[in-house]
Amino acid sequence: MGSRHTLLVIALLWTGLTMAAGPQVDPLDSPRWGDMRKQFFANGKVVFDPLVKVTAPEVAEDPMNVPVTVDATALGKVQTVLVFADFNPILHALSFSPRSAGAYLGFRIKLQQSSPVRAAAKTADGVWHVGGTLVTTTGGGCTVPSTGSASPEWQQRLNELSGRVWQQDDSERLRLRIIHPMDTGLSGSTPAFFLQQITVSDAKEQVLMVIEPHEPVAENPVFTLRLPGTAAADGSGKRIQVKGRDNNGNRFESWVEQ
């Protein structure tokens, strides 16, 4: 019995020590982690936290469309989430601020080469909780022109929204697709042209989530959101309002109907 207690005390002490020891070891062992920390978090407190789950295929066959799902709902209330890839020429892929929606977002990004893809979720105490996964790819995703830039179609359908809501057990799932070339500016003489802000609200204009995409988000972005079961509907069939703008000042406002 006594030795068990000793062990417990040692274990607790050890945990305390490792937590107080300052910068933790990057579980993905990336040589870029030091730079990432400086660039995104300056003097903020950062912990690697398995409660922030980042899902992406181990091998991404299409570097133009790497699916990434971030689930930080296990942390409870989250203020904002940054998503970045250590080895991308444009590091910052996207940020999102869950309001009444859960801290959960699915999307697709372009990867220039194999890289850790990470999400950092900021809780109310100011601590950044970082999770991530490694993605291997043959690369080239950021310096290849979008299909849209070679086709006249996007000009007629720019910022066109389609979407749908699915009922799940105690919540709802929203999937959105917006037509946009999302050009990175790194391919030939095509300038950067990308969606910068998307605000998702319910029928009573209660904001569910604000998404801030950056250049690495894949062409014709698709987002998957987890909504609280309480998102208001109105009688006319209008369900979810989506407002947004891109870096050229094009604005859109559209409804997902049910």
């Binding site: 899902t55 992406a56 295929p57 091998v59 991404a60 066959e61 299409d62 469309n65 699916p67 990434v68 799902t69 699915g106 697709r108 043959t138 929204l161 389609s162 979407g163 749908r164 699915w166 799932r173 999937r175 959105l176 697709r177 698709v222 998957t224 109907e257 049910q258």
Partner: protein, 314 residues
Amino acid sequence: MKKIASLCALLCWTALLVAADFNYGLKPRQIAPGTYVLEGRNEDFSFANGGNIVNTGFIVTEAGVIVIDSGPSLRYGEQLRQAIAAITDKPVLRVFITHAHPDHFLGNQAFPAATLYATSAAKEQMQREGNAFAENMYRLNGDWMKGTESLPPAQTIGAGRITLGGHELELLPLHGHTASDLALYDRTTGVLFAGDLVFNHRAPTTPHAHIADWLASLDTLESLTRQPGFTRLVPGHGTVTADAAPIAETRAYLQWLTSTIRQGAEQGEDMNEVMAHTKPAAFRDMAVIDSEYRRSVGHLFPAAEQEALKPHRH
């Protein structure tokens, strides 16, 4: 233990030597009178296999040799010619390229330009994308690709029966795996060269696939195997068979693939969730199914998703 260690060292060394002289070790296997197949490995492209994941074949006729596909690289094409020369001193009459995928036509440079044949649609795809394919193959296979460039065939062919050196060949320009897939049925020997419309126990690839067309083409091929003269089916990848089992397997896989992707999109799954599906027992043992399935979801899911998200559909 020591013995095992030295054996391992020896094996590693041998592997290095084999890789260093870029010898594919091609061994033609006779499957019918005058008819040979060179079966590739059921793998993905790699520095270890140099791109030899494909089946090529040839028919030795009275008038000369008919080749089906030239392989993944210039080195492969050259070694294929040597393998043919070890069996016959007859000249190469024609090289039929089944479709515009790099493992099937990047050996073209090893053959006289006037002997190379493909459908016009396949030729156009090689002209459009051949160099990008070759570049990607360097990344995947390394120095095995040395000197390889895309050489689209000079000659084009359509549907019909031709007689070459006493062999009556039925040319079937089908599609579905790509925009143009040529199958060849040798009515003289009963051998059906199916190209990549048929895979045998290796997960099919779908980067340019149109699944409905592909399924229709499989029906056409299956009807040939029911003809009394049929003897052998040569898939584009995987072992040669004496029956149509690989056609049924390819069909069942493609049907499962499309219904999994369509249902996933209809039920609101995102791409990661569709990629995470477990494979049915019937397909779990197929070579490279994990990577091919992931690739196929990447190719086919966006269109299914677009369909499921169409505005004003409720």
